[in-house]
Symmetry: C2
Subunit: 159 residues, 2 copies
DNA sequence: TCGATCGTTCAGTATTGACTGAATGTTCCG
DNA sequence: CGGAACATTCAGTCAATACTGAACGATCGA
């Protein structure tokens, strides 16, 4: 791994960690986004990142569960091979509605908790809930437009 | 604070904490979203949340800097008064492009780090960069549409 | 100028949680 | 069946950090 590649991997670790994932998850995903060949074994990854096999095992579960990587097997080879899913970010953002829905759920429970208050007092939470409901619907729609645009670019003559 | 209100405050603490802020920041914002009266002093908040004044002081800096709360003074009163900014979430999401831009920056530095690779090898990062650039533009546009829709609802006859 | 009140700072503490590494379990080849 | 290579698990360690609380500084009224 060159210094520039190592810096990329480390940056990915910091960014993912700042959004609730573990640094190792960010590093591992980052590595799988740039490694050559694109399919690697757990031992390959552990050596590249200087991490223990236990950490790779646990992190692989997280990343696979979140849809960021794919784990495959080859016949006659007991090792597992990992690679970055090509459409990981698309499907993550397509489901981004869930994140906003979670916060909207809290707002709605807050409105129930304050149901005896005056309308003015509850405006703060009501506005929050309305905005979140809107974003929750529209963000997936953005991703679908992106995918449609790209599909049109790649087949402009209707082939 | 009723049990239901306390649960809301605690949930806000957990959600904000899971996205990189401190639990106290979530609790304090949550409290300012439901408290009565809506303006509170640091002592009020510390007592409601069972927190130290030092924690309130530091958290107030964070929340004010992020645009979630407003700190005001009244003449003849040396205490500071805090309240939740009504448009906090709107302005936060309007600037959400910055978050995607940050990740796009990492992807672009990764592409520089792998500039000697084959085009197929770099496809993973290029797709990531393109999608992020798209989302970076479109998410603020969503918020603007929400604000425009709401303005139209509130003045449907062009008053 | 003194005293009271409020905000800030910061060293110390306690907690969380990410990572390690050895032990365990499992699958495949000879 | 035995052994090797691999994945998983989990108790222990270490570092990061959120929070406390006392000390400090600033501001205002008397």
């Amino acid at each position: 791994m060159t210094p520039a590649e190592s810096e990329f991997v480390e940056e990915m670790g910091q960014i993912l960690a700042s959004y609730g994932m573990t640094p190792m998850a960010g590093r591992m995903w980052g590595w799988l986004l740039i490694c050559e060949p694109p399919e690697q074994t757990a031992a390959d990854i552990a050596e590249a990142l200087g991490a223990s096999r236990g950490a790779i095992s646990g992190t692989a579960r997280i990343l696979a569960g979140a849809g960021f990587i794919r784990r495959t097997m080859r016949r006659g080879d007991r090792r597992e091979w990992f690679n970055a899913k090509p459409d990981a970010l698309e499907s993550f953002l397509l489901n981004a509605g869930r994140i906003y829905a979670q916060l909207r759920g809290v707002a709605e429970r807050g409105l129930i908790a304050t149901s005896d208050r005056s309308p003015e007092s509850r405006e703060r939470l009501e506005e929050m809930r309305d905005l979140l409901a809107f974003v929750e619907r529209e963000v997936p729609a953005i991703i679908e437009r992106f995918l449609a645009d790209r599909a049109a670019e790649r087949a402009p003559l209707g082939s």
